[in-house]
Amino acid sequence: MYDFAYHRPKSLADAATVLKGKDEARPMAGGMTLIPTLKQRLARPTDVVDLGGVKELAGIKVEGSNLVIGAMTKHVTVATSADVKRMIPALADLAGMIGDPAVRNRGTIGGSVANSDPAADYPAAVLGLNATITTNTGKHAADSFFKGLFETALGEGELITSISFPKPDKAAYMKFRNPASRYAMVGVFVAKTGNTVRVAVTGAGPAAFRVKAMEDALAKNFTSEAIKDIKIPADGLNSDIHGSAEYRAHLVGVMARRAVDAANK
């Protein structure tokens, strides 16, 4: 780890000020990704701004038919929240599948979404539920947020403050874990709200993406049968020692069908 200056602001405004004023400042949520990156000397920020002291960023609120989750809310909190379980149980399930207990007790929704790890779970829910990402400077629609590998629509120094998830009629998340890391090798989030269906995939590509063909078929007939013949092209999908692009493409189909079955249960 290289040396850096450490800040622990008490308010969002102070955090934004520090981040703006420095050359290479990085916000830190639970440090679950950032700290290993620093330890491996893969990043060299001049300043690290710990968001742990910013009270306004943590917590879960119900606003009408939306669930609003503060950026600093930990995975364990989402997994066990009565509000989340009541409004969007699939989201609580997803949070409970992230990493191990230690990771769930430090990792945050804001850190995960800001990071846009191709294998992270939350991006599938953000996209699948058509969530809105609120930052200190504005709002982003889910569909235009995940730009690519570790790339989002966030601007320089822009901080996620909360993420708002509209309540679906039905939803489910199915995850096929990478055997080693247990991140998602393929994770599929399926949500049905009125007549619209969204199918969002994480793990398979450089960033989370939607599968239009499945969405259309499911909008007409929300059963796993309806998508059983839809093949996902392997082109452009991730490939590594744990899964070839073809295998991932195949798993998208399997996980999508299982998610639909689970949502219908």
Binding site: R41, D240, L251
Partner: protein, 794 residues
């Protein structure tokens, strides 16, 4: 005597209190005043010439104390690291022994090969300085793919090993075996790869060294499984520090699985540099360094053929193996695919003729050496894979085929055609018990039920034998081993009656502090709380050979028994004197010396006290004190054996394999602490399951980069990867050691890969899949299923 703490009792591990409360003392915990910290700059290339090393900027970095290169070590006459086992090839020539420099000077040969050692006031400063070192590499083509390592045109690793061949070795008479094959009614053939593994001990390797200028003494703290052997190697071969001027201490060590037997570059460099720097030096591997540079395990490519007669009796076995040595020959690497592998190829069977040919190859990968089971898992995987395949070919029950060929219980001691003589065993009751526990008869119903859920269920057997408890020194010597293989023990009583059990074994997770104490408690009647087991320090313990090859109890425990016999013999003389009786009339029972037929008695503690305060004592006959030493050199290896039955369910949609049932029935001879044995079996099976389904050290075949270089890509078995194990035991006591014990530390890892893989093969067989590579990852199983269904559709 069976007591609450004696032999056979489930005593909780005494050492765990300290391990679980964070009060263990590991090398990295050492508080050394004025310590400096070493960091090793390593090769980023699998194969390259070092054209130059520019230290000028690094030397100016803050906190830097010293920087050493391979040239510095060569100039200081630091020797090559050694391979301590000379294997003679089929022409009687000793194996090729290319040098293994502590720091690479001219050429780097694997990703992670250490090149420069930076010593600084802190770890971070050492690392900062290392980043400023400019090494000018000329990158060369790398030899990474074992199957091609011996081919013409493959990049050469060492000039001293032309064609990358370290030895071409054989065991058995090929012509006899060929003749038997010519008469066979059936021949089964298999091609298998035993996947490379990375040991992953919980504690990374670490070393710390301090030099005392006043006395010329070096102290080296190391995460070693055998501190005396490490000292011997460093003294006699590498550094030339006289043995009595070098103290090696292996304090608490967090797991080894074999990987901490060997003498490594870093501890050697740290020890050597401590006198140059004049301050203590500490080094602890980062996890990524452990992945890159701990000696890896397994890595064989094998073709095997089994000849059977028309009744299914095995006539002959032929095995051809290429074994990967990695870039340099690690300490015992040459012995693993020869004397610890081919000698086990008889398994539990009466196969009368066996021929094995092993070619050891060097490659541009990390050195490969002994890892839990060392050679025996590879042998078991070959035998048990081919026997199950033969059963499939002949459409006979795999248990029946095994039973038909088992060595009968009446045949012991049994001379195998591959040098070993099995001392004891009784195999049929073991498989019977395993089949009962596993409900083998109910399997077809379970398979049908699984099918109704869309799952492919399979069952697999693995009946293993292993030779451990290394071993008669003279046999080891004849086979080329460079060390003795006895063990030492000292029982040092204190005047107040408590006792230190000083052992030459080393405990790094095995529970010796409990098991050895139980032996002494049982034998001498001393309460457990009055017994302390001491190990791991060359200055406070008798010379010992250390812990590996499931030898600690069979050999080290036997030495303790011998020392205890000496204590009893001496105590009898003291007690006879105190009781005014004849020594011949004194018996020792329940910790007390008695004269038979009288109520006269002297508790051991009283005899001990008399020995240290010899006021009323037969000084003319015996010396004062109660402190006895023993060395034990076994008459033979010990031969644990058992049968494992694994049942799996494969999800054809995803290729995932789930182990739904796992039974292991073992014969470990007598059992000292059943709870510790269960722990060893559980851990061993978990590692075996890891090899079968999860773990795989993958190098990029072009660049030689270690792709599975972290836990993000190297799949360690986790608790939920294995079911609750069903265990059973059968006991045939070892006839040649005083405890009647066999080793249990490696059995699980030896047998499990074949059991799991046979189950997966059985599950996939209905699809027409005939070959399943190990590890059977979801990806590879899915590809097999996918390929099979595509073939069926065409």
């Amino acid at each position: 005597m069976t007591t609450a703490t004696g032999i056979g009792a489930r005593v909780k591990r005494r050492e765990d209190v300290r391990f679980l409360t964070g009060t263990g003392r590991y090398v990295d915990d050492l508080p050394l005043a004025r310590a400096t910290y070493a960091y090793f700059l390593r090769s980023p290339h699998a194969h390259a010439k070092i054209k130059g090393v520019d230290l000028s900027e690094a030397e100016k970095m803050p906190g830097v104390v010293a920087i050493f290169t391979g040239k510095d070590l060569a100039e200081a006459k630091v020797g090559s690291l050694i391979c301590g086992w000379v294997v003679k090839d089929k022409h009687g020539e000793p194996h090729k022994a290319p040098p293994h420099p502590v720091l690479a000077a001219d050429t780097v040969r694997y990703v992670g090969d250490p090149v420069v050692m930076v010593v600084a006031n802190s770890h971070d400063e050492a690392k900062d300085a290392a980043e400023k070192i400019k090494v000018d590499y000329e990158v060369l083509p790398a030899n990474v793919d074992l199957a091609k390592a011996l081919d013409k045109g493959t990049a050469q690793v060492h000039a001293e090993a032309p064609g990358n061949l370290i030895y071409d070795w054989e065991l058995g008479v090929k012509a006899d075996v060929d003749a038997a094959f010519a008469k066979a009614a059936h021949v089964t053939k298999i091609d298998i790869v035993n996947n490379r593994l990375i040991p992953n001990a919980m504690e990374p390797r670490a070393a710390a060294a301090e030099y005392d200028k006043g006395t010329g003494h070096y102290t080296l703290w190391s995460t070693s499984q055998n501190p005396h052997v490490l000292r011997l190697i460093l003294s006699a071969f590498v550094l030339g520090i006289p043995e009595h001027k070098l103290r090696v201490i292996a304090p608490d060590v967090g797991g080894g699985f074999g990987s901490k037997i060997f003498c490594y570059n870093e501890e050697t460099a740290v020890c050597w540099a401590s006198s140059r720097v004049g301050r203590p030096i500490k080094w602890t591997a980062e996890r990524s360094e452990s992945f890159m540079t701990d000696a890896h395990g397994r890595d064989h490519v094998t073709h095997a053929e089994l000849a059977l007669d028309k009744d299914g009796k095995f006539l002959a076995l032929k095995v051809e193996t290429i074994a990967n040595m990695g870039a340099y020959l690690s300490t015992f690497s040459t012995a693993v695919p020869t004397y610890l592998y081919a000698t086990l190829l008889a398994g539990q069977y009466t196969t009368p003729l066996i021929y094995a040919n092993v070619k050891a190859a060097v490659t541009h990968t990390a050195p490969v050496d002994a890892y839990r089971g060392a050679g025996r898992p590879e042998a078991t995987f070959v035998i048990e894979s081919i026997v199950s395949q033969a059963a499939k070919d002949l459409k006979v029950d795999p248990a029946e085929l095994r039973r038909k060929n088992f060595i009968p219980s009446t045949a012991f001691p049994y001379q195998t055609p591959v040098a070993l003589q099995y001392d004891s065993g009784n195999y049929p009751p073991i498989i019977d018990e395993a089949m009962k526990i596993a409900d083998y008869r109910g399997f077809e119903a379970r398979r049908a039920e699984a099918k109704s859920r869309g799952k492919l269920r399979g069952i697999g057997f693995s009946s293993y034998i292993e030779a451990c408890g290394l071993a008669p020194s003279q046999v080891i010597g004849q086979l080329g081993g460079g060390v003795g293989q006895w063990e030492s023990a000292q029982l040092k009583f204190n005047p107040t009656g408590n006792v230190q059990v000083i052992t030459g074994s080393h405990s790094h997770g095995q529970g010796h502090e409990t098991t050895f104490a139980q032996i002494v408690s049982d034998k001498l009647g001393v309460p457990l709380e009055n017994i302390e087991v001491v190990h791991g320090d060359t200055s406070t313990t008798t010379f010992g050979m250390g812990t590996y090859g499931s030898r600690s109890l069979a050999v080290g425990g036997s030495a303790i028994m011998k020392a205890a016999d000496k204590i009893i013999a001496k105590g009898k003389k003291i007690a006879a004197h105190l009781m005014e009786a004849s020594v011949d009339d004194v018996v020792f029972e329940d910790g007390t010396f008695k004269v038979a037929g009288t109520d006269k008695n002297v508790p051991l503690a009283q005899a001990v006290f008399a020995a240290y305060v010899p006021h009323n004592y037969p000084l003319a006959e015996i010396e004062p004190g109660m402190d006895e030493n023993a060395f034990y050199d076994p008459a033979n290896f010990v031969y644990p054996a058992g049968t494992q039955i694994c049942e799996v369910e494969v999800d054809p949609d995803t290729g995932e394999t789930q182990i739904v049932n796992f039974t292991a029935v073992d014969d470990f001879g007598n059992i000292i602490n059943p709870m510790i044995v269960e722990g060893q079996v559980h851990g061993g099976i978990a590692q075996g399951v890891g090899q079968a389904l999860l773990e795989h050290a993958v190098y990029d075949k072009e660049t030689g980069q270690l792709v599975s270089g972290s836990y993000m890509d190297y799949t360690m078995p986790r608790a939920d990867d294995v079911p609750s194990f069903k265990l059973g035991y059968k006991v045939t006591p070892c006839p040649h050691n005083p405890l009647g014990v066999k080793g249990c530390g490696e059995a699980g890892a030896i047998a499990a890969p074949a059991a799991v893989m046979n189950a997966v093969r059985d599950a996939l067989a209905p699809l027409g899949v005939t070959h399943v590579p190990m590890p059977a990852t979801p990806l590879s199983v899915w590809q097999l299923i996918h390929g099979a269904s595509r073939a069926a559709a065409e």
